[in-house]
């Protein structure tokens, strides 16, 4: 994405190259190649350039409004009373109904759902990264019979839609008494995130130089020690990237909990809770509370996104490599 530096930019379609680019640090200016600098010359490039410039800006602004508008509308409505929303969905709040927020957090249980999501996704992201990079490391750097078989077993999992396995999965979970439990959901999230994590991280481990690991081996370090103390720290950029990908994927998951985690409403994750709230608003009629719930769910993501937006974009577009 930078042209000034010779380093290869994040080019989708080639995991190894992406991995190589990521090792060089996600830092550094990542402005688009031809974004104008502050000193962009005033000497326009002819009428075509100027018309196109105005034309493109109009469309870009239009989509920006369409992208941000609904979210701003939700935030605004979260401070209005239900009556005011139904009367005029456009009007600004006459007074700030903060009680909507406390309704959403306490009575609509958004607080509990958020905590549930944090527990589940916290556990599953850590587990995914640990198990995924263990498998990826062994497959990338050790030669043993069956290596390719195991690799394709994992990577092949990216090719089929999750829903194909869901009905039997429900009964497998039932037999192991894992339905409607946090640890059950965590294990399912880990298992279904392994294919991409193994695929991405093994490509990443292959790009790392082997000289440091060899030096550690000569010094008498065991295999597992080399992994945890030498290779894993070196793989940090890749871990961050695939970690963000997994975090967002698991945080946003709706289908899996809807199958194996529906028994106990107190254990719902945030996505289920919001869908539930939306369904209830139909007859309960607390519109302001619904929008407050939405806003509460959006805000943490917004903060994370604004702070880490470069990594988030890189981490999510890395998913398109598969």
């Amino acid at each position: 994405m930078t042209t000034a530096e010779p380093s290869p930019s994040l080019r989708p379609g080639d995991p190894e190259e992406t991995a190589a680019a990521l090792t060089k640090g996600t830092g550094g200016p990542r402005r688009p190649a031809n974004a104008p600098g502050k000193d962009a010359g005033r000497s326009g490039g002819g009428t075509e350039g100027r018309t196109l410039n105005a034309f493109s800006h109009a469309f870009l602004v239009l989509w920006a409004v369409m992208a941000a508008g609904p979210l701003l509308w939700a935030v605004m409505n979260s401070l209005k009373s239900s009556g005011a929303i139904l009367e005029n969905p456009w009007s600004l709040p006459k007074r700030l109904n903060w009680e909507n927020w406390s309704f959403a957090w306490n009575e609509a249980n958004i607080g509990q759902y958020t905590i549930n999501s944090v527990i589940v996704v916290g556990g599953s992201v850590i587990g995914t990264m640990l198990l995924g990079s263990m498998v990826a490391y062994v497959l990338a750097r050790y030669d043993f019979p069956g290596n390719r078989l195991v690799y394709f077993l994992f990577v092949g999992g990216m090719a089929f839609p999750i829903i194909v396995a869901l009905v039997p999965l429900f009964f497998v979970m039932k037999n192991f008494a894992l339905l409607n439990t946090y640890h059950g959901l965590i294990l399912v999230y880990i298992a279904y995130s392994l294919p991409f994590t193994v695929f991405f991280m093994s490509a990443f481990f292959r790009t790392l130089p082997s000289s440091i690991a060899e030096a550690a081996e000569i010094d008498g370090a065991s295999h597992s020690r080399i992994f945890f103390q030498v290779m894993l720290p070196m793989a940090k950029p890749g871990l961050i990237s695939v970690g963000i990908f997994n975090f967002l994927g698991q945080w946003n998951q709706y289908l899996i909990p809807q199958v194996v985690h529906v028994g106990d409403a107190d254990k719902y994750v945030l996505t289920q809770g919001l869908a539930n709230l939306a369904a209830q608003t139909g007859y309960r009629g607390n519109w302001g509370g619904l929008f407050a719930g939405l806003t509460l769910a959006v805000l943490p993501i917004l903060v994370v996104y604004v702070v880490f937006q470069r990594q988030v974009q890189a981490g999510l577009t890395a998913g398109a490599l598969k």
Partner: protein, 341 residues
């Protein structure tokens, strides 16, 4: 199960250091080659054991069980069932609602990538090449392209549930944003019941999915455009090509791989669409099955109607469609004249 990994690794670490060895010495050198091979395989097995068990039990085995159950009349409610051969599949062939559901998935497969990737390419090109020329430069992005990308991409970071719940209320006939906007700009007669109208509900699903995904492709395609060397643009400009020509004759062919990847990605999403339909539409697939998609149908059959065997037959059909799509996308995209740059 997850905690097995580190525990095993820890044990390996302990065992790997011979007892009584002093310091971080050269003990490893004295280890015989046989012992070294043993250590290596023990390490490999230790690292693979827990993930393989987890993956095998929760992913691989359910996947194959699906084929097995699709040949049975299992209800899912009790543990007894009988083999019925291909009965479930012949029933699928005549199932009006299933055909409707699958058709909606195929329609999404045709419509979604065209609109989403088209808009993504358009905005990415505008961001990267649509700007005013800087002195001595062939191409220029628009001012503030970084800001646009942040705004466009944000919906992608949101949970699909949030997006869909939000849109459910945008489409709401009373108090919804869409009808509100229409009446505000004097188009009150265009107000609709949107999700309640069987002719429009499906297109509401399309709108939501496009809205949620365009930003992703803007960022993806921007990255790909940024990696095209500017010398190529300069050469094109010297040859007197306009921007439309540049886009279709230079930019697009050079981004072929990325566009293809995006197409496959969007296609997989179109064959799913579970969360959107399940949360957004009236009665999850209504009104009058106008928005039903195969995954929602499968879900209802398995977990509401007590027809687990039949639901797995739907799953097998869905898998076949996905496979056909993947193979077609790969065959279609195989380019003989790949351009390196």
């Amino acid at each position: 199960m997850a905690s097995d990994g580190p525990a095993v690794a820890e044990a390996t670490k302990e065992a790997a250091s011979p007892p009584g060895r002093s310091g971080g010495g050269r003990g490893e050198r004295r280890v015989s080659p046989h012992h070294r091979t043993y250590l290596k395989y023990r390490f490999v097995a230790g690292f693979l054991a827990a993930p393989l068990v987890l993956y095998g039990v929760l992913v691989v085995s359910p996947f194959f069980q699906t084929f097995y159950y699709s040949l049975t009349d299992w209800t899912g409610l009790s543990s007894d069932f009988a083999f019925v051969g291909l009965d479930n599949f012949s029933r699928l062939m005549e199932d009006e609602i299933f055909r409707k559901a699958l058709w909606h998935n195929v329609l999404l497969l045709l419509v979604l990538p065209v609109i989403t990737l088209g808009l993504g390419l358009f905005f990415a090109f505008m961001l990267n090449v649509g700007g005013r020329h800087r002195r001595g430069e062939a191409v220029a992005g628009v001012r503030g392209s970084h800001f646009y990308k942040i705004v466009y991409f944000f919906p992608q970071a949101l949970s699909i549930a949030i997006v869909v719940v939000l849109w459910k209320y945008i489409f709401n006939p009373v108090g919804g944003l869409l009808n509100g906007v229409l009446s505000a700009v004097g188009l009150g007669q265009w107000q609709q019941s949107w999700l309640g109208d069987p002719r429009l509900a499906f297109w509401c699903v399309v709108i939501v999915m496009v809205w949620a995904n365009v930003g992703f492709y803007v960022v993806l395609f921007s990255a790909a455009m940024g990696s095209i060397p500017r010398e190529i643009y300069e050469a094109t400009l010297l040859d007197g090509a306009g921007r439309t020509t540049t886009f279709f004759r230079v930019t697009l062919p050079l981004m072929r791989d990325t566009v293809q990847t995006g197409w496959v990605y969007m296609g997989i999403m179109a064959l799913d669409a579970f969360a959107v339909v399940h949360i957004l539409t009236v009665n999850a697939g209504g009104p009058a099955y106008s928005t039903i998609v195969a995954p929602v149908y499968l879900y209802n059959k398995a977990f509401q109607d007590g027809q687990a065997g039949y639901a797995t037959a739907v799953a097998v059909a869905l898998l076949i469609v996905t496979m056909v799509f993947s193979v077609a996308a790969m065959a279609f995209g195989r380019s003989k004249d790949r351009i390196e740059f």
